[in-house]
């Protein structure tokens, strides 16, 4: 017990760090405050070290969930002196803006055709309740959200699901490009009831097997949600790791328990990402990091060019004809149901219920042009808008209203303290200027343009073509 007690003491110190910050700020330097300050610095040092050990980039450290007091999400939002939530909201906006600025602003190369196997840990350790309501329920909930969002951003991708239960890899859902199909398979939690030991090797071998036939231009990815600290394998898992490297399968892990050497090795050697979830929100963040199509790095692109395999190749695709509701009914090839509406394969004329899909008869990949268009915003992102800091960048002719929504700009009241504003990336004038078309937009429109619409409202206005001179 003595070592455990010592650790407890450390965690207490970490805990007191967050609680005492108020006292330190409010106190007038009395004895109590001095004492807690000492404890605070000690706790900080420990916390930093712990963060380094686990390789997490999160600034705020937390003790284990069972040691923390019950967290109230409404406490996280701080009111300012006036009792208004304005500053808290602005802080959130600024955070999103900073994250966007880190992203690339020019056309970049991404893997658009993705194939992902999601491996779910269904072992007994998933019944732990350190994440509420339980690791298992939370995983299912987030997996559903993940799949919906993933298909929204990767309309040409396919997802399959493999479960790890009772020492076996279990195929939960075959590779499919239809989100409804995939969601149906994980909608029933009774069928997936956790049980027994997990086997990483079996599950990854199964995932590898189901991706072996894929063409070279598509990505092969495996994402493991792993809640255990053990793996019960029939053979040497390092052979599996070598095979994954050879097949260029990218393995990523989201661990719910702690870091394991073999998990990290998988991620490092195959180019995936590794993360340990600190709490429920962090778990979701880690999982959703895998949604945007991965950037094809120079190294990966040249590696592919190796054995007579160009990094860019042409995929044969068919663009279907949509049958109207008034067409004569016919049997579809996918469900053998009598239907009037549907799509016709341009090569063999088979009737399909939904696109995108592979034609069941001739194997042609059937997409509509709008599915291709849905991926374009990853390839051609909108440039981040410049934050206007002072009035010097304005001229007399600058309009006083947002170019998009025609509402007047809201100048913030604390413009007299400009020292705080630049760090947050918020404009005191409420103006954000597009570097290409030079128009000013308000904060709301800026967020909407970059996060939802991916179109600058005035960059695409047709311009007279300059005469070559």
């Amino acid at each position: 017990m003595p070592p455990r007690r010592a650790q407890d003491h450390n965690y207490m110190a970490v805990d007191s760090d967050s609680d005492d910050s108020f006292i330190v700020e409010d106190g007038d330097g009395d004895f109590g405050a001095d004492r807690t300050r000492g404890a605070k610095s000690k706790g900080k040092g420990k916390a930093v070290q712990k963060g380094k050990d686990k390789g997490k980039g999160k600034g705020k450290e937390q003790p284990y969930s069972w040691e923390a007091s019950y967290t109230r999400s409404w406490d996280a939002v701080q009111e300012d002196e006036g009792g208004s939530l304005q500053t808290a909201v602005e802080d959130l906006l600024a955070r999103g803006r900073r994250r966007r600025l880190l992203g690339p602003s020019t056309a970049i190369r991404r893997t658009i055709i993705r194939h992902l196997i999601l491996i779910l840990d269904l072992s007994a350790s998933m019944l732990d309740k350190d994440m509420r309501p339980s690791r298992f329920d939370l995983t299912l909930e987030y997996a559903r959200a993940f799949i919906t969002e993933w298909f929204d951003q990767n309309p040409l991708g396919q997802i399959g699901i493999v479960g790890m239960r009772a020492g076996l890899g279990e195929r939960v859902c075959d590779m499919s490009g239809n989100p409804q199909d995939v969601l149906k398979h994980i909608s029933d939690r009774v069928k997936l009831e956790p049980n027994g030991e997990p086997s990483l090797q079996n599950a990854i071998e199964m995932a590898r097997g189901s991706m072996s036939h894929l063409p070279s231009h598509s990505s092969r990815e495996v994402l493991v949600i792993f809640g255990s600290l053990t793996s019960c394998d029939p053979g040497n898992i390092h052979d599996t790791l070598d095979a994954c490297v050879k097949d260029r399968i990218r393995v990523s892990f989201v661990s719910l328990a702690a870091e394991m050497k073999i998990c990290r090795d998988f991620c490092v050697k195959t180019g995936g990402t590794f993360g340990v979830a600190l709490n429920e929100g962090h778990f979701k963040d880690l999982l959703f990091e895998g949604i945007p199509p991965p950037v094809q790095t120079g190294a990966a692109a040249t590696a592919k060019t190796g054995p007579g395999n160009p990094a860019a190749d042409l995929m044969q695709m068919g663009f279907p004809t949509r049958l109207p509701d008034t067409a004569p009914p016919a049997l579809c090839v996918c469900h053998s149901e009598l239907k009037t509406e549907g799509f016709l394969c341009p090569r063999c004329g088979a009737k399909l219920c939904d696109v995108p899909t592979d034609c069941d008869i001739c194997g042609l990949m059937i997409v509509s042009s709008s599915h291709l268009a849905r991926s374009y915003h990853h390839l051609f992102p909108v440039k981040p808008y410049e934050v206007l800091m002072d009035k010097s960048s304005l001229t007399i002719t600058s309009p006083s209203v947002c170019h998009a929504c025609a509402l007047p700009f809201r100048e913030s009241q604390q413009s007299k303290t400009p020292a705080t504003a630049p760090a947050e990336g918020l404009s005191p004038l409420g103006r954000y200027r597009c570097p290409d078309c030079g128009n000013d937009f308000c904060a709301d429109c800026d967020v909407f343009v970059h996060e939802v619409m991916h179109v600058c409202p005035s960059c695409h206005d047709p311009k007279p073509i300059p005469q070559p001179s």
Binding site: M315, T321, A373, A404, V455
Partner: protein
């Protein structure tokens, strides 16, 4: 309560053509009757009108923002419902100000209209309006039903394909229905897809003199009511892609795995 954004395609070349059966003044009169009918349906109904001119897009009228100086010039008339009068006066005045004369602007007339800009602005306004509605959150918030009606007279502009599709997808995410009323010119595949993807109607006006009837029968009802009515829907949609090299429409072809450009055998 429902919100209507009207996008008017004001291509001077199409509207000043004397051989067309529908004159611009008649067209404007029909549109105004339709808009008045929308305002008369419910007191809370809101309206925003955008004009797509060659090379620029302008917000012509918004019932949300009442601070426009144009409102002050309207004299109250006891024999006229005030919102109608405000709208009619403001819209006609703004169009007169902004509409370029075909004779004076010879090279600007060649430009395609800025439909993407107008659509993007309409969607931005929808977002601002949504955040405003949510602000007093004592009562259960009823989000206004939103739809966009595009009155189109010009053909597709190939250069605007990607931004237009991006706007359509964001409309789809925001559950904004896009209706298209095509008056002149060839059918536009892009707008057909917009109507199909957002669950709206694409209707081609065959008899120009009865434009008002088309507008009242097909586009006046908010989307939630339409399931009870037999409103024409989009039937034929061309989902084929255009070959990037010759702009031919192709059935099956090759797509580049990096940039997703599609091509035929000539690749």
């Amino acid at each position: 309560m429902s919100h209507l954004s009207l996008l008017l395609d004001l291509q001077p070349a199409a509207w000043h053509d004397p051989t067309q059966s529908l004159q611009f003044s008649t067209f404007l009169a029909h549109i105004l009757v339709f808009l008045n009918a929308h305002l008369a349906q419910k007191h809370e109904n809101s309206l925003a009108i955008f004009g797509a001119f060659p090379g620029k897009s302008i917000m012509l009228y918004s019932s949300i923002d009442q601070t426009k100086p144009a409102d002050r010039r309207v004299q109250p008339d006891p024999n006229w419902y005030q919102p109608f009068k405000t709208l009619d006066a403001a819209l006609t005045e703004r169009i007169r100000e902004e509409m370029p004369q075909p004779s004076t602007s010879s090279e600007a007339e060649e430009l395609p209209v800025a439909l993407v800009g107008a659509l993007a602005k309409a969607l931005c306004c929808k977002i601002i309006q949504a955040t405003k509605v949510e602000a007093p959150s004592d009562t259960p918030v009823v989000m206004p039903e939103s739809r966009i009606l595009i009155v189109s007279v010009s053909p597709d502009a190939a250069a605007s394909y990607i931004p237009l599709m991006n706007s359509i997808f964001s409309a789809q995410k925001l559950k904004v229905v896009i209706d298209v009323c095509k008056i002149y010119g060839p059918d536009t595949t892009f707008l057909q897809q917009a109507a199909y993807l957002t669950g709206g109607s694409y209707i081609r006006v065959e008899k120009h003199e009865s434009l008002l009837q088309y507008l009242m029968m097909c586009f006046l009802q908010p989307p939630s009511v339409r399931s009870l009515l037999a409103v024409p829907t989009t039937d034929r949609v061309d989902f084929r892609a255009a070959c990037f090299c010759h702009k031919d429409i192709i059935d099956a072809g090759y797509v580049c795995s990096v940039c997703l450009s599609s091509g035929s055998d000539c690749f």
